[in-house]
């Protein structure tokens, strides 16, 4: 009784209950006589493919799982005192992190203070990616054809005609909150979870939302190619300069002269706030740049 009900329920979910009847396959019996003995019919081929697909999927899954399990068994036991002494760094971060970086959010202190070269190169990767996309997709005078222009104009007309009143109203209500939240996440990177990357992603998503509601022409009024280039390169250069300064002084045993402030305040933890703002700018610009380059071919 229970199984029957389950079967009927699953048939209902799959849409193959009795009222409709299962899908009937076309009768292939007529064509069977002409074919050779070893040739498979389409149905058999599909069945064979499905079985093979399942088998290959199972083998791949088992292989990956066994490799991962093997790796896990090679790892040293968690919390074992005889572990290799790679934990000095962790201890240093946990014990002296707050004192040395001034960041309550230890992750931000680690990423942006101790390992800020890492973070700098990550931001540069974003910059490089958007530069290469620009090289391929940007519609400048070497990369323009007549058909593309006509298609572009056509798309612009469609975008204007199909603009959606509901979306526009809701976006004009929601967008200020989104941008404000992005700024909040960037500025609180050293106090609470968040930071340049996440806040920048929020702001970039806000820009994309604005562009998809009101059209990219509208965004261009406040964010065009010139601002894009200026903001991205200025932020990266600022990051590089400030971090070069602190590494130079640190390596030579000098004092940076940058006050760390009281932990927990907005203006604290030295350079972390500045670097967070730089990273946030780069990430927001890059996200919006990707969207608009792939959609329109120009910022």
């Amino acid at each position: 009784m229970k199984k029957d009900m389950w079967k009927r329920f699953s048939a209902w979910v799959n849409g193959t209950s009795e009222e409709r009847g299962p899908l009937e396959l076309p009768d292939t019996a007529v064509h069977h006589e002409k074919k050779k003995l070893f040739e498979l019919s389409d149905e058999q081929k599909i069945r064979l493919f499905k079985a093979g697909y399942l088998a290959v999927a199972a083998v791949v899954c088992l292989a990956v799982v066994s490799v991962l399990l093997y790796t896990v068994f090679q790892l040293p036991l968690f919390g074992d005192p005889n572990n290799p002494a790679v934990n000095d760094v962790v201890e240093r971060y946990v014990e002296k992190g707050l004192e040395e970086t001034g960041a309550v959010n230890m992750v931000a202190g680690m990423i942006i203070d101790y390992r800020s070269f890492d973070n700098f190169v990550e931001s540069s990767v974003l910059f490089l990616a958007v530069t290469s996309v620009m090289m391929l997709l940007l519609r400048d005078k070497n990369n323009i054809s007549r058909e593309e222009d006509i298609q572009e104009e056509h798309e612009r007309i469609i975008e204007k005609e199909a603009s959606d009143l509901i979306l526009q109203k809701v976006v004009s209500m929601v967008l200020p909150c989104i941008m404000l939240f992005g700024v909040y996440v960037v500025l609180n990177g050293h106090i609470s979870p968040g930071g340049g990357f996440s806040g920048g992603a929020v702001m970039g998503a806000g820009l994309i939302l604005y562009a998809s509601a009101f059209g990219t022409d509208k965004v261009r009024e406040l964010f065009n190619m010139k601002t894009f280039k200026t903001v991205t390169s200025t932020a990266l250069l600022c990051y590089a300069a400030s971090k070069a300064y602190s590494f130079y002084t640190g390596a030579n045993g000098l004092h940076t002269g940058i006050p760390l402030g009281t932990p927990g305040a907005i203006f604290s933890s030295g350079l972390i706030l500045v670097l967070d703002i730089c990273v946030g700018m780069v990430v927001a610009c890059t996200m919006y740049g990707f969207y608009v380059l792939f959609a329109r071919g120009e910022i």
């Binding site: 005609e161 959606d164 509901i166 979306l167 809701v170 929601v174 909150c177």
Partner: protein
């Protein structure tokens, strides 16, 4: 104690709504029908679950955050469903084969 019970009941109701939405998403075949079921889960189901959590956590800052999430989702999710449906209607060439179309000329 009573707060916990009320909150759990609300969360269970939300989970029920989500289960119905999932079943509907698999049951229906056409985009617009499936969306009709899927939109339930984002709006009503999430609201019930979050309000259950609000009741459990009481009158705190956490509840205010839950409330902000509810407001945001109730603003964003119906608009999102509307946009998906609109994209389907605008791009489907033979819409009248799938469902009844009242005014075919005024699709935009």
């Amino acid at each position: 104690m009573a707060r916990d019970i009320i909150g759990s009941v609300l969360i269970l109701m939300g989970v029920c709504v989500m289960v119905i939405a999932v079943a509907g998403t698999f049951r229906f075949k056409y985009v617009l029908n499936r969306m009709h079921a899927a939109a339930l889960c984002d709006t009503l189901g999430l609201m019930l679950v979050l309000s259950g959590l609000m009741v459990i956590s009481g009158f705190t800052a956490l509840s205010a955050k839950f409330f902000a999430i509810i407001v945001f989702i109730w603003l964003a999710s119906p608009v999102m469903s509307h946009l998906i449906a609109r994209a389907e209607v605008l791009t489907h060439a033979h819409l009248s084969e799938e469902c009844e179309v009242i005014d075919n000329d005024d699709r935009i």
